[in-house]
């Protein structure tokens, strides 16, 4: 199915800026992992470093495969992929025995696969297909219903694994693509409103202001009085129930949720990680403590330092200047990818680019937000830099999706009956 001529053309349009930056980030990640996984007592190349090094080549291979897969094939087989992905998500529930942890993995003996990682690709593809071929008007709420359920299925399955972080990636991808496809902003508002309601419900003044705000927005946007009232009452009711539900939670459950927002509440529990992470970052200062000289890192005050908290290691050892450089590199990537989506010649491709970009941007924001103590600890790694074979391969795969979406090949859009 791949013609040599197509491959040559495709090879010619590879974006070297993207590849260059991605490879630089990954190499820098390797350096940091070397530091994060070497301690005073040990010497030489750490196990983690070697795994990551091998994964880099697997990632490049995966990127190549995805990049050279014709867009037409992805479009045609979107449903097949999607159904396959959902089945993979179900599989661990049957295979696994005791612990909750095993629900995330399929153990093939030589390697553990995480189906929720693959699902990111399949979700992006199926959503890209829907948004590029649908005849539904973007002004109609019907437009949202199908992709909403397409997202809801994998979301709920991953959410109950439980893996809050990954399930939120699906939501981010969905909302990002929905937005880019031209949906009325009001519909996105309707989807996000209940979440804001739940948070606002804990503060009477905030809840009142939010209620008024909600009422105004709904009143001006909704043509149908019946559904307006429905949306409004639904939200208020959810807000009123929330405190009741909260009070029914066990104290330890409440603490767990509260420490997600305020690390100082429990310096020895979940909050401890965030506190130590902030100390690591802050003590790095402008120029950092130097490679292999981070005390927080090397005396192991930082938890999960080579995976989720790799950014803290970098900030401690290399300082604010290097952090700024990394930010610039990431920023160039995201802006460049959004530009690709904007300029893409077909909507399917554009949607693929948006999906991949949003997924990576979301990871970036969630991870750094967590390490600096702005966001709760969800355990999401940092693209290209964090240790984790599957995750690195996934990130390269997402880059493959983005670059593929950007390619010149224009798929034929299926006709409708």
């Amino acid at each position: 199915m791949l013609k040599l001529k197509d491959m040559e053309e495709k090879f010619a349009e590879l974006d070297y800026v993207t590849l260059g930056i991605v490879l630089s980030l990954t190499v820098f990640g390797l350096i940091s992992i070397y530091s994060a996984s070497s301690f005073a007592s040990e010497s030489g190349w750490s196990f983690q470093f070697i795994i990551q090094f091998i994964s880099l080549f697997l990632g490049i291979g995966f990127l190549t495969v995805i990049y050279f897969t014709p867009k037409q094939f992805l479009l045609d087989k979107a449903w097949l992929f999607y159904v396959f992905g959902v089945m993979l998500l179900i599989l661990p529930f049957f295979l696994s025995s005791d612990s909750a942890e095993t629900n995330r993995w399929i153990d093939l003996g030589f390697v553990k696969l995480q189906p929720s990682e693959f699902m990111k690709f399949f979700l992006i593809i199926i959503l890209a297909r829907y948004f590029s071929i649908t005849r539904n008007s973007t002004d109609s709420f019907v437009y949202v219903i199908k992709p909403f359920f397409l997202t809801l299925i994998p979301f709920s399955m991953v959410f109950i694994q439980p893996d809050l972080g990954t399930s939120l990636v699906y939501i981010a991808v969905f909302i990002g693509m929905l937005f880019a496809s031209g949906i009325r902003i009001y519909y996105i508002f309707l989807l996000v409103a209940p979440l804001i309601t739940i948070v606002a419900a804990f503060h009477l003044t905030a809840f009142t202001i939010w209620g008024i705000f909600l009422g105004i927005i709904v009143f001006y946007n909704q043509t149908n009085l019946f559904s307006s009232v429905g949306v409004f009452i639904g939200n208020i009711a959810a807000g009123l129930i929330t405190p009741l539900v909260w009070n029914h939670l066990k104290p330890y459950q409440q603490t767990r949720i509260l420490t997600m927002f305020n690390a100082d509440l429990d310096p020895l529990g979940a909050g401890y990680q965030v506190l130590q992470s902030q100390i690591a970052i802050g003590s790095g200062g402008l120029k950092g403590k130097g490679f292999l000289a981070g005390t927080q890192t090397h005396l192991r005050f930082l938890p999960e330092q080579h995976t989720d908290f790799i950014f803290s290691v970098i900030a401690e050892e290399f300082g604010f200047i290097m952090v700024a450089i990394l930010f610039i590199l990431f920023f160039i990537l995201f802006i460049r990818w959004f530009a690709m989506a904007f300029k893409a010649r077909d909507k399917f491709g554009a949607m693929l680019v948006i999906g991949g970009t949003v997924a990576l941007l979301f990871h970036f924001f969630i991870n750094i937000g967590m390490t600096v103590g702005l966001l709760p600890v969800t355990g999401k790694p940092l693209p290209f830099l964090s240790y984790g074979g599957s995750f690195l391969v996934t990130c390269f795969g997402l880059v493959g999706i983005i670059l593929n979406g950007n390619s010149e090949q224009i798929p034929r859009v299926p006709t409708f009956r």
Binding site: A180, G182, P267, S283, G285, T295, L299, F301, L374
Partner: protein
């Protein structure tokens, strides 16, 4: 095909996406800027604090010696148990082991940790003053008890045989308020500070400075060895050498079991106190370690008030020992001739009031010397009429009566020398008569002083006008630079009193001991040429207080003594015998 080119990402939405990215990046970058640049120094400190565990090395407090280098107060180790909450919090096993060793429930121990906790990375005390067996058991289990440390704290030990509670004082764990009050002097909670006596007045010399050891650790509390470059060495406190003679101190403390009394034995040439007692007192040893509430209340509620240092805090009328002031004023100002005689019939009439002499039958004809010898009140009633208040006050002031002596024992009380202004204030401008003056001349009425004030007074009489500062500190030995620094105390002298006056006073005071009618004939000691004066101070609350002040004129034995006996009835019968015994004992002990 046209539809496939339909890219609906409008430029508006494209810019919105770029805008959102910029906002997200800005939030994160600002936060990192906040952490790495603005809060850099705070967080660096935190990081360093993480790395090191600090151990406090308590400074050994200085030792207190007597004048012959015999230790009166010294140190002994006492063990406390501390835990690092950060390391121990999650360790049920550690609590189990501790609970079994200390025989205290794990819950109680956790409670104590919470109560004394001062952050997760600082040690919290959970038990103190452990006995030897407990200490050795903890040492045996030390490997299983990570985050648990034994700290040795030097405690004060006292030489047996003397109490000297008021003199030596004691130390106690500093309270939070004092830590704040003395901020800048480096006290930390858990430190000990002198709260009474010498321990308090020489706190700065005795305390030394705690040291700190820094041990590198990782997040699991694993020990990577001490960082010697950071060690703050401990500075031991300076040793203090007192003027006190241990043997004499022992002797003066055991003079009277039934009545409270106060004694000062002082070298009148320089103010060095060889012994001082305020009985009953307390043994300072009960304050090392934790004082039990019962023991504390027993002291507090004892009717004999053992916690009051009568010698420096007790205010009493001096009685007849004060008569010399009026005598000196009269002689020195040539108000009367020393040969001028007054007749004592046993009482003195002023207006409608009758003032009695202590001898009801009367002393007959009295001159200055015999009036001192007999302690005749009537003679002094007569001369004070001539001397007047102003002169009496002025000569009192020459002896600095009613001012602080500046003794190096804390909480000295100030006496009251009533002058014109005081009397006007108390009784109204014309509300008082010379009747008050008659009372004051014999050391009664509004005049109150402390025994230590009287020790300065007798020294001035013995030296013909030298005003010394009574003191117990003699020298300070600095262990670090091995220097011995002698302490100096201010002295002064009374000028303008002529020798003839001193001669007569001396003669009178000698007659008190040696005269046929002397009130303290009992106090004569062969070879010392004792001089002195008794006093009996009326006390509206009970029996009169007995006083004796005196000194030896032997230049080889230049000591003065003040004895005060609460409710002793009379100076001759209560105070003078004690003075005799003490001076005799000391004279015998130091005879060559």
């Amino acid at each position: 095909m046209a539809t496939s080119h339909d890219n609906s990402l409008t430029s508006l939405r494209y810019y919105i996406l770029i805008g959102i990215s910029i906002i997200l990046f800005s939030i994160l970058l600002y936060r990192i800027y906040d952490l790495q640049i603005r809060r850099y120094s705070d967080l660096s400190t935190e990081a360093v604090r993480n790395m090191y565990r600090k151990y406090n090395i308590p400074a050994p407090r200085g030792i207190i010696f007597d004048r012959y280098n015999r230790p009166l107060v010294f140190n002994q180790s006492n063990y406390d148990l501390e835990v690092y909450p950060f390391e121990i919090s999650r360790e049920e096993h550690t609590w189990d082991v501790l609970s079994r060793i200390l025989n205290v429930s794990a819950e109680e121990l956790k409670e104590r940790m919470k109560k004394n906790m001062n952050g997760y990375y600082r040690p919290a005390k959970i038990a103190s003053s452990l006995d030897y067996l407990t200490v050795s058991m903890i040492q045996e289990y030390q490997l299983e008890l990570s985050g648990v440390i034994l700290t040795s704290r030097p405690t004060r030990e006292y030489i047996p045989g003397i109490n000297a509670g008021h003199l030596l004082g004691y130390i106690a764990e500093i309270d939070q308020r004092t830590v704040e009050l003395l901020s800048g002097e480096g006290y930390r909670s858990g430190d000990y500070i002198g709260v009474k006596g010498i321990e308090k007045s020489y706190e700065k010399e005795l305390r030394g400075h705690n040291g700190t050891r820094f041990v590198r650790i990782n997040a699991f509390g694993m020990d990577f060895g001490e960082d010697f470059s950071k060690t703050v060495p401990v500075t031991p406190g300076n040793d203090l050498y007192l003027t006190i003679n241990l043997d004499l101190q022992k002797y003066v403390e055991s003079q009277n079991d039934s009545l409270p009394y106060s004694v000062v034995v002082i070298d009148y040439t320089n103010g060095e106190i060889h012994a001082m007692a305020s009985q009953p007192d307390f043994n300072p040893a009960i304050f090392s370690g934790t004082v039990s509430q019962e023991a504390w209340f027993a002291l507090l509620n004892d009717p004999a008030k053992p916690l009051i240092n009568r010698t420096v805090q007790g205010l009493y009328p001096p009685g007849s020992i004060y008569k010399m002031i009026a005598a000196i004023a009269a002689l020195d100002e040539n108000v009367i001739s020393p040969d001028r005689k007054y007749h004592c019939s046993g009482s003195y009439r002023l207006g409608r009031r009758v003032f009695k002499c202590w001898k009801e039958a009367g002393h007959g004809s009295m001159d200055m010397v015999s009036a001192i010898e007999n302690s005749c009140n009537v003679y002094f009633y007569n001369i004070i009429q001539e001397v007047g208040l102003e002169r009496w006050v002025r000569y009192s002031q020459k002896f600095q009566v009613g001012t602080l002596t500046g003794i190096d024992i804390p909480e000295e009380k100030i006496g009251n020398l009533p002058d014109q202004k005081y009397l006007d204030g108390k009784y109204g401008k014309n509300g008082w008569t010379s009747g008050l003056l008659l009372n004051m001349v014999i050391g009664q009425g509004d005049l109150v002083i402390t025994p230590i004030d009287m020790s300065r007074y007798i020294c001035a009489l013995a030296t013909r006008g030298k005003i010394i500062t009574p003191h117990v500190g003699r020298a300070v030995f600095n262990k670090n630079d091995e220097t011995l620094k002698f302490l100096s105390f201010p002295s002064d002298s009374i000028s303008g009193i002529n020798a003839r006056t001193w001669d007569l006073i001396e003669k009178g005071m000698r007659q008190v001991i040696a005269g046929a009618n002397g009130t303290a004939k009992i106090a004569e000691i062969k070879g010392l040429k004792m001089h002195g004066k008794t006093g009996t101070a009326q006390n509206p609350h009970g029996e009169a207080h007995g006083w004796f002040i005196g000194y030896s004129a032997n230049p080889l034995f230049p000591y003065a003594i003040v004895v005060f006996v609460e409710n002793g009835k009379s100076g001759s019968s209560s105070a003078a015998p004690i003075a005799k015994r003490i001076m005799n004992y000391y004279w015998k002990a130091s005879s060559f």
